[in-house]
Amino acid sequence: MIHTRELTRTFRVGKRTVEAVRGVDIDVGEGEFVALLGPNGAGKSTTLRMLTTLLEPTSGTASVAGHDVRAEPTEVRRRIGFVGQGHGAGDDQRVRDELHTQGLLYGLDRRTARSRTGELLDLLELDEAADRVVTALSGGQRRRLDIAMGLIHRPGLLFLDEPSTGLDPQSRANLWEHVARLRGEFGTTVVVTTHYLEEADGAAERVLVIDHGRVIADGSADELKSRVSGDLVVFTTEDGAAADLGAKVAEALPSAGTAEVVAEPGRDPRVRIRVEHGDAALPGLLRSLDGAGVAPLSVAVSRPTLDDVFLTLTGRSLREGER
């Protein structure tokens, strides 16, 4: 469904050149559900905007739904749906009118456009707001209208740029449920960008990690996580001396990595260490700590997350202010 080779886009800002996307190769097959995961400014939207014909690539090629984005943009547009990062509805338009118009623009006849409008209003729980103007909607309702507009022509390939921003957990779950249904019913291919690790983890089958305009990892969430060696074990101690001793003891465990002592003012010192099968290693760790006279205040074991994957790959965290 999507094939890009060395896809690149730069922007000129004053005298500076911003390399937003630097030579990206992406192949997405029919029916796949792919998440682009990356921090702010990674180049996710720019990539999507090139794939959806909104931006000309600076160099490289992209074929989307069987057509080259540069040579046959209209053919591409006919076959895709796009929910952008901004809001797609006109401020002074009525919800129902805007959805109906969107259907007509994709070549639906009036009757079909009307019935699809009804269906989507119902599905995205916009019934009650259908005759309001867009400015009178809440942020979440507005986002749901954006999504409805992207779905009205039942595209075979759907691009969603941070679709769940501003949605409450209930609407977010509904969105993914609906996307799953679309895929079940029509075999829709879905490409979504997100900051929400849980979404990339739970909903998508495949995750492309993007950073500084490059794809730095590609695989299922489980595959990516298996590249992070071991589970994270964290325990806290009374004081720094105990933490340092605890770190030494922990490093002596079989399959343990290097321990890290985190001391922050006002918080108990923490020891962080990666261990294979952390749950099974825990009793041994506790025994050894006890033997060395270190009494941990709390102990936690966590499986690797996509954030750990990102941290391993880049040395930075996707979650703000956490490390």
Binding site: M1, L54, G66, F82, D109, H153, G156
Partner: protein, 266 residues
């Protein structure tokens, strides 16, 4: 690209192939709905010309001559040109929020004809302007002004052509600058000299030589001359010149405008 993917055909639902005319009509309706829902917008746009008619045109009678004696016959055609100038000049305002929010982008991703995105809007603006002009004509006729019907029809058509050209230019400016605080001074700065140098308020014959020469460089002057001739029932060369200028402006603006919409994602 090497391997061409087999794509699924668009889902079985009914699909009619879009034509540009159909797209223009869809965009026209989208814009038209805004006005139909708030018809008072039409009256607001007429406020300025009506004020000129009531509070300014009586001054002309003091001038005597052809301007003073038939003051409305002389003034009303220019007034309509002024209405066209301001109504069309600020047309791009409506696009600015859509450029900022992502609504324009959403339309660009759809297979809608690029020219239709522009033309649908421009024609909706022209329709609104035409309605305002009809209302003003109805008003002055009710107050006793006699206008040759054929002259009025050809004159209004000429103003629609002028309006199409000017509002296209206004959208071009909106697409180029995108920000309200840049758009407003540019448009205001362009419209004022265009109006003052067109002789809509006072006859340019009163002007010193240099000012008269400047007014001849203003394309709007020729449309004003043509309108005055048409409203007086004189079918002289001024009519042809006015039409040529307005048509030329509209054609060039639309050609450039269509291209600008095509590259308007950012």
């Amino acid at each position: 690209m090497t391997a061409t993917m087999r794509t699924q055909p668009p889902p079985a639902a009914a699909r009619t192939r879009g034509t540009t005319a159909r797209d223009v009509w869809i965009v026209f309706q989208r814009q038209g709905r805004l006005v139909l829902r708030r018809p008072a917008l039409i009256l607001f746009g007429m406020l300025q010309p009506v004020l000129y008619l009531a509070l300014f045109s009586p001054l002309l009678e003091g001038l005597g001559g052809p301007t003073g004696e038939g003051s409305w016959r002389w003034f009303v055609p220019g007034l309509l040109v002024m209405l066209a100038l301001f109504a069309s000049g600020f047309a791009g305002f409506g696009l600015l929020p859509e450029l900022a929010s992502g609504a324009h982008e959403r339309l660009l991703v759809s297979p809608v004809s690029r020219v239709a995105l522009l033309l649908g809007r421009v024609l909706a603006d022209a329709a609104m302007m035409f309605t305002q002009m009809l209302l003003i004509l109805a008003l002055v006729v009710a107050f006793g002004l006699r206008i040759p019907p054929l002259g009025a029809v050809v004159g209004l058509a000429l103003l629609v052509v002028l309006g199409v050209g000017l509002s296209t230019l206004s959208y071009l400016v909106a697409l180029a600058v995108r920000q309200t605080y840049v758009f407003a001074p540019i448009v205001q700065g362009a419209l004022m000299p265009l109006m003052l140098l067109s002789g809509v308020l006072l006859p340019m014959d009163l002007a010193p030589g240099w000012l008269y020469a400047l007014s001849r460089l203003n394309p709007v002057s020729y449309v004003v001359d043509a309108e005055r001739a048409l409203f007086a029932g004189e079918w002289g060369p001024a009519v042809g010149v006015g039409w040529a200028v307005a048509l030329g402006l509209a054609v060039v603006a639309l050609a450039v405008g269509g291209r600008a919409v095509r590259g308007s994602a950012r």
